[in-house]
């Protein structure tokens, strides 16, 4: 399986982090970064990571089944909208934001738009409790999200814009 030179370089750095006989430690980091490039955890990817980490494909499958950010077979959208409804967000409107997104996008939990551009997920605590309600689009955080801001973000995505082109609402992380 061939990856971009950047990902190949990253894999090399990953394997160098752990003792030579402990390549298996690189399994999860490899999977999550490879998924960003491949789209999902494919059978081919499982075999490739197994080979590189010196374990069996079954040992990789075991791991894939455990972690909620690893998506076997079905890729999430290019822009994966994750809305937290856990307790701190729930108290200040997180669940309502999630319902709003479901209605607007006509998508449910872990569903992907027909063009593969947007997907939606109701997520557990993402660590933004003091700036709730919070959402993540891919790996970027949006804090203190209002229904109007969510509308702007979703309108923009539905018009085919990238999140950074939706200037009215900015991510907060550096």
């Amino acid at each position: 399986m061939t990856f971009s030179p950047e990902l190949e370089a990253r894999f090399e750095r990953f394997l160098a982090k752990y003792p030579a006989e402990r390549k298996r430690s690189a399994t999860i980091p490899m999977l999550i970064y490879a998924q960003d490039e491949v789209g999902s955890i494919t059978t081919e990817l499982v075999a490739e990571v197994a080979k590189r980490c010196d374990i069996t494909p079954l040992q990789v499958e075991e791991v894939v089944g455990f972690y909620s950010m690893l998506h076997r077979h079905k890729p999430m959208g290019k822009y994966h909208v994750q809305i937290c409804t856990n307790i701190s967000c729930l108290l200040v409107g997180g669940a309502e934001l999630y319902e709003q997104a479901c209605k607007k996008l006509h998508l449910g939990h872990k569903e992907v738009s027909a063009d593969g551009f947007i997907s939606l997920e109701e997520v557990e605590c993402i660590g933004a409790c003091s700036w709730a309600p919070a959402i993540q689009i891919n790996y970027d955080f949006y804090h203190d999200v209002t229904p109007a801001q969510l509308d702007k973000l979703l309108d923009g995505l539905q018009a085919g814009k990238r999140p950074e082109e939706i200037t009215e609402v900015a991510k907060v992380n550096c």
Partner: protein, 436 residues
């Protein structure tokens, strides 16, 4: 840019560099006492470093509150295997968002904490296990580590003083359970995040079955100020046996939610009213989760207490991870219990049956209850099921799911009764009955 404004009541020790221009950079760090504690520690014996940490009264900031110096003392002096430093940056406890700031605003403080821990136990390799959702922090940490190598604060011969220490980040991929120390180690080794039976504890057999110091981000970050100012200074900031300051993450129905560094033992009502700006919209306080969703919930009239490990334990709750979730009078406690249980049912790793089955059945029971289809005997059943999970699992996730549930059923029984006989939730604006 800071995510929330600091409060004058804060004692900013670990957060003293937050908000400085370019606070992530090694230049800012070095210009503000950076790596001074490490240089001091190089001249100290291992015993002296550990006794300074013991004297500081520092206790684990991840939630369990185990004395850090004592933990470090459990690492065997002589070991045929290499020793490891492991940073738990898998912050996932609902209500908790402090480690994010410690890494985002001051990553070098964490590196320095690891370096000193390495000196204290003779470890030459460390890892920072960061939850997968915090991808941008992995990048922040990687940049800081690269700077530290370039300036000679990491590597095989640090500052030419013959000290060797290497540090690397490690990404998780979405699992609350991996914040539990033994599950984190399994995950680190490239496996499912199932917990291990203890003993042996990580200090003896941790990463790769080798002696490992595993602490929370905030715990490691407290070490440089302790070494620099002395354990006694740190201890003096808090209450007896509860040294120092700690990060409290205020969230929920308050006017000024945010992460604030306050002295250990700070009064909870003052925290809500004076730091958090009081209740939103003039509503009354109903309940507080004092330290993340795993803690027994406090009623409004139980909140006049000092926020330290021992006072909270005496109040039959926990200081936990510092996540203070404030709920007003319009909060449905059945719904709160349900949302918390949905989380634990989702995150239970499935390894221990009482937790796997208990959380799932409790989720179903609470769901049915909230939808108005519960029976009077369900109230007893929810309590019984929860109590049967206590102490019957490898890791504390089972207890974490049971404890808040037990407290809510016991303290707000009347709210459960108000949902009986098909009555719609009294707190929901519209009643939506969903068939089970």
């Amino acid at each position: 840019m800071l995510y929330n404004q600091p409060n004058p009541l804060e004692v900013r020790l670990l957060s003293r560099r937050f908000g400085l221009p370019n606070s992530q950079s090694i230049e800012t760090y070095l210009a503000n006492e950076g790596y001074k504690a490490f240089e001091k520690a190089i001249g100290m014996s291992q015993e002296d470093i550990i006794s300074e940490v013991k004297a500081s009264g520092l206790r684990g900031r991840g939630g369990a509150g185990f004395p850090t110096g004592l933990k470090w003392g459990f690492v065997p002096r002589q070991s045929p295997k290499p020793k490891y430093i492991m940073v738990n940056a898998d912050e996932s406890e609902p209500g908790t968002c402090k480690d994010r700031l410690l890494i985002e605003y001051d990553p070098h403080q964490l590196i320095e904490g690891c370096l000193i821990a390495g000196l204290a136990v003779g470890a030459q390799q460390g890892y920072v296990y960061i939850r997968g959702e915090y991808r941008y922090l992995i990048e922040v940490m990687d940049r800081a580590i690269e700077e530290a190598y370039a300036r000679g604060y990491l590597g095989d011969n640090i500052l030419g003083r013959g000290v060797k220490f290497n540090l690397a980040t490690h990404s998780g991929a979405g699992a609350y359970e991996c914040g539990e120390e033994s599950a984190l180690l399994e995950s680190f080794e490239g496996k499912r995040g199932n917990p291990r039976i203890r003993p042996p504890f990580p200090a003896v057999a941790g990463a790769y079955a080798s002696p490992t110091i595993l602490n929370n981000v905030e715990t490691f970050c407290a070490v440089p100020p302790i070494i620099l100012n002395g354990g006694a200074y740190f201890a003096g900031l808090g209450t007896p046996k509860n040294g120092g300051t700690r990060f409290f993450c205020l969230s929920g129905h308050i006017n000024k939610p945010g992460v604030y560094e306050l002295p250990m033992g700070f009064n909870l009502m003052r925290m809500i009213n004076e730091v958090g700006g009081g209740m939103r919209n003039g509503r009354k306080l109903k309940a507080v989760i004092p330290g993340g969703s795993s803690c027994p919930v406090l009623k409004a009239d139980e909140c006049d207490l000092a926020m330290d490990y021992d006072t909270l334990a005496a109040a039959k709750s926990m200081l936990g991870s510092g996540g203070v979730v404030v709920m007003d009078e319009d909060t449905c406690m059945v719904k709160a219990a349900l949302r918390i249980m949905r989380f634990y049912a989702h995150e239970s790793c499935g390894w221990c049956i009482p937790c796997r089955e208990g959380t799932t059945w409790l989720r179903k029971l609470l769901q049915r209850f909230h939808e108005g289809m519960g029976t009077r005997s369900d109230i007893v059943l929810i309590g019984d099921l929860s109590r049967n999970m206590l102490g019957r699992t490898f890791c504390p996730l089972g207890d974490a799911a049971a404890l808040p549930t037990i407290s809510i059923v016991e303290k707000w029984r009347e709210e459960f009764e108000a949902h009986l006989d098909g009555k719609p939730c009294p707190y929901e604006k519209s009643s939506r009955l969903v068939a089970v």
